[in-house]
C-alpha cells in the first residue's frame, strides 16, 4: 500500500540525513519507526508526506507517486499528526473540522459535520466538543490532533509520537483505536514511538533507524535484543508475557 523507494534527504549543507531508505507497508498494517533521538524518524515521516522534499527517491501510495501530487491531493492520501501541535483559539469541534479541509469545497456540508461528530464520539471527546482547545490538557490536545487526522479520511496515517503527552490509559486507548480503524478500513499507519513496549504491543512491523540508516526491519519477532542494545546503547532483554513481548533494560 505504501512503498518508499530509495529515499535520500539532506538539509541545507548537503549532509544526508536519510540515506537511500526503502521499505513497504501493507494494507491493514502498522509500521512503527524506532530509533534513538536524531535517528531520522521525524524527517522520514515529513519526507513521506512531501513536507520535506527528498533529494531522490519515490513514495508510492497505492502505486501513485505522492511526491508529484499537489499538496491538497497528498492530504487526501496521507493523514499527518505532527510531534508538536499548536492550540489555536477555536472550539474543539472546529479544530477537528479542519481535518475535512482537503475534501471541503466552498463550505462544509452536513456530511463533514456528521463525520466530525462520529469521530469525536469514537475517541471519547464527545462531551467536550464546545470547549476551547487552548483550555485542553496536552493529552487532550493530542487526541484532538489524532481526531483531525481521522476525519481527513486518508489511506495512510503518519503519526509522529502520537502518545507522547498521554497517560498510560489514554496511550492504550489511542493505539487500540488507531489499530481498530486501520484494520477495519484496510488502511495503513506509520508511527514513530519511543516506548518500546507499546511499539512491540501494537506494531505489525518494526523499522529500526539509526543515523539515517535502516538497521533492521521486519516483523516484531525479527528484532533481537542484541540489535536494540546496539542501536540504543543500553543492554536490554526481551521476555514474553501473556503472548506479548516486553523489553526490559538491564
Amino acid at each position: 500500500m505504501l512503498d518508499v523507494k530509495n529515499i535520500s534527504v539532506s538539509y541545507r549543507k548537503g549532509e544526508l540525513i536519510l540515506k537511500n531508505l526503502s521499505f513497504s507497508v501493507g494494507k491493514g498494517n502498522i509500521l512503527v519507526l524506532l530509533g534513538p533521538n536524531g535517528a531520522g524518524k521525524t524527517t522520514l515521516l515529513r519526507s513521506i508526506n512531501a513536507i520535506l522534499k527528498p533529494q531522490k527517491g519515490v513514495v508510492e501510495v497505492e502505486n501513485s507517486n505522492v511526491l508529484q501530487m499537489p499538496a491538497s491531493q497528498i492530504a487526501k492520501k496521507l493523514g499527518y499528526v505532527a510531534q508538536r501541535n499548536t492550540a489555536g483559539n477555536m472550539s474543539l469541534f472546529d479544530a477537528v473540522l479542519l481535518g475535512r479541509k482537503p475534501h471541503v469545497g466552498l463550505r462544509a456540508t452536513a456530511n463533514d459535520f456528521a463525520r466530525v461528530s462520529n469521530t469525536l464520539q469514537q475517541l471519547g471527546l464527545g462531551d467536550m466538543t464546545m470547549r476551547n482547545i487552548n483550555q485542553l490538557s496536552g493529552g487532550e490536545l493530542q487526541k484532538v490532533c489524532i481526531a483531525r487526522a481521522f476525519v481527513q479520511e486518508p489511506r495512510i496515517f503518519l503519526l509522529d509520537e502520537p502518545t507522547s503527552n498521554l497517560d498510560l490509559k489514554n496511550q492504550m486507548d489511542i493505539l487500540h483505536t488507531i489499530r481498530r480503524i486501520v484494520k477495519e478500513n484496510s488502511l495503513a499507519a506509520v508511527i514513530t514511538m519511543h516506548n518500546l513496549n507499546l511499539a512491540f504491543r501494537f506494531a505489525d512491523d518494526i523499522l529500526l533507524l539509526n543515523k539515517g540508516h535502516i538497521v533492521a526491519q521486519g516483523s516484531i519477532e525479527s528484532i533481537t535484543p542484541q540489535i536494540l542494545s546496539e542501536v540504543y546503547g543500553v543492554q536490554v532483554e526481551m521476555i514474553r508475557h501473556k503472548g506479548h513481548l516486553a523489553i526490559i533494560p538491564v
Binding site: 508526506n49 499537489p70 491531493q73 492530504a75 505532527a82 501541535n85 489555536g88 483559539n89 479541509k101 503518519l158
Partner: protein, 362 residues
C-alpha cells in the same frame, strides 16, 4: 430568539451544541451589520449641517425634495461615509490576515510600518512623478491626478516593508514584540523618507504634504471611493476564499502542511493582497492608524480565531469603528473637522498598550 427552523435543525442534528454555537456567531455578525447600517446613516446625517434621518433616507432612495441636502449628501457625505466604510473594513481585514499569516497578534498595516511605507511611496509619486497636484488650501490639499502611478508607488513601498517583515518572520523565530519593534523601525525609516521630501519641498508643497499625511476620509470623492471599493472588495473575496487556509495556519505550519495547505504561498499572497489594499487606502486617505490592529482583536474576543467569521466580522467592525470615529471627528470641534486619524490614534494608542500587556499577546 432562535428561529423556529433553526430550533428544529438543532433538535435533529447529532451536534446541536455546535449548531447553536454557529448561530451565536452569525448573530454577532448580524449585530455588526446593524451597527454598521446605523453608523452609515448617522455618518450621512451628522456634521456641520445636520440632515434629518428621513431626508437622508429619501435622498438615498431618489426621493429627495430639498436640493441643498441632496447636494451635500451626493457630493460630500455619501462619498465620505462610503470611504470610511470601505477603508475601515479594508484596513481591518488586512490586519486580521497579517495577524494570521505572520502568526503575530500585533500584526497590522500600521504596526508593521506598511502604512508609513505606502505614504512615502505615494508622496514620491505625487512630488516627482506628476501623479498629483498640491495646493495650500485645506480642502483637497493634494489632488491625485494619476491614481495608478500613486497606488503603484505606494504598493511598491508597501511590498518592500512587507517583504522585510516576511523575511524576518521566516528566518528568525522572533516573538510578536520583536516583529512589531522591527515594524516601528521600518515605519521610522519611511517616515524619515517622507520628512526628507518635506525638507526639500517649497512652502505650498510642505503645507500640502503635512496636511495630506493626516489620515482623513473627508478627502475622498467618487473616483477614489470606486477605486478603493474595487481593491477592497477583491481583496475581501480573496481572503474569504482562503479562510480555511488561515484556520489551518492557526494550528501550526506543520499541521497546516499536513492538511494540504501551501503555507509559504498562502503567507506571501496574503501579505501581497493585504499590502495592496493598504496601499490603495493610504494613497487616497493618508495613514489611519490602529483600525487594522484593534478591529480583529475586538471581534476575536467574541468569536475566537475562526477565520470563517473573523474576516467578515473584522470588516464590519473596522467599518463601524472608522465611521463612528469620523462622525466624532466632525462633531467634536464643529464646524471644524478633525482628520479622523487623530481620533483613531487617540483611541488606538491606549488600546494598543492594553493589548501589549494583556495575556492574549504572550
Amino acid at each position: 430568539m432562535m428561529h423556529r427552523g433553526n430550533r428544529q435543525k438543532c433538535r435533529n442534528t447529532p451536534f446541536p451544541e455546535y449548531v447553536k454555537y454557529i448561530h451565536r456567531k452569525r448573530l454577532f455578525l448580524v449585530s455588526l451589520i446593524v451597527i454598521c447600517l446605523i453608523s452609515f446613516f448617522a455618518s450621512i446625517s451628522l456634521g456641520a449641517v445636520t440632515i434629518p434621518f428621513n431626508s437622508v433616507l429619501r435622498s438615498l432612495f431618489g426621493f429627495g425634495d430639498m436640493p441643498q441636502f441632496q447636494n451635500i449628501i451626493t457630493n460630500i457625505r455619501l462619498p465620505n461615509a462610503l470611504a470610511a466604510l470601505i477603508a475601515g473594513g479594508g484596513l481591518a481585514i488586512s490586519g486580521a490576515v497579517m495577524q494570521s499569516v505572520l502568526r503575530n497578534p500585533l500584526g497590522s498595516p500600521f504596526t508593521l510600518g506598511i502604512s508609513q511605507a505606502g505614504a512615502f511611496g505615494a508622496a514620491v509619486a505625487i512630488m516627482f512623478m506628476g501623479a498629483g497636484v498640491m495646493q495650500s488650501t485645506q480642502v483637497g490639499a493634494v489632488t491625485v491626478l494619476n491614481p495608478l502611478i500613486t497606488i503603484g508607488f505606494a504598493f511598491l513601498m508597501c511590498m518592500v516593508s512587507a517583504i522585510i517583515i516576511i523575511l524576518i518572520a521566516r528566518f528568525h523565530s522572533t516573538g510578536p514584540e520583536v516583529m512589531v519593534l522591527c515594524g516601528v523601525a521600518l515605519g521610522s525609516v519611511f517616515s524619515a523618507g517622507t520628512m526628507f521630501l518635506q525638507y526639500f519641498a517649497d512652502d505650498v508643497q510642505l503645507a500640502a504634504i503635512v496636511f495630506w499625511s493626516f489620515g482623513d476620509v473627508g478627502r475622498a470623492g467618487w473616483p477614489e471611493v470606486i477605486i478603493m471599493a474595487v481593491a477592497v472588495v477583491s481583496g475581501t473575496l480573496f481572503f474569504i476564499l482562503n479562510r480555511w487556509n488561515y484556520n489551518a495556519i492557526e494550528t501550526g505550519d506543520e499541521t497546516a502542511r499536513g492538511l494540504g495547505v501551501r503555507v509559504d504561498l498562502v503567507r506571501i499572497l496574503g501579505m501581497i493582497v493585504a499590502s495592496l489594499i493598504t496601499a490603495t487606502i493610504v494613497s487616497f486617505l493618508g495613514i489611519i492608524a490602529f483600525v487594522g490592529l484593534i478591529s480583529p482583536h475586538m471581534v476575536r474576543r467574541f468569536i475566537g480565531d475562526d477565520y470563517r467569521f473573523v474576516i467578515p466580522a473584522s470588516f464590519l467592525c473596522g467599518s463601524a469603528l472608522l465611521m463612528v470615529s469620523d462622525i466624532a471627528a466632525r462633531l467634536m470641534l464643529k464646524p471644524h473637522v478633525l482628520p479622523v486619524a487623530v481620533l483613531t490614534s487617540f483611541i488606538g494608542g491606549p488600546l494598543f498598550i492594553y493589548l501589549l500587556l494583556s495575556k492574549r499577546v504572550k
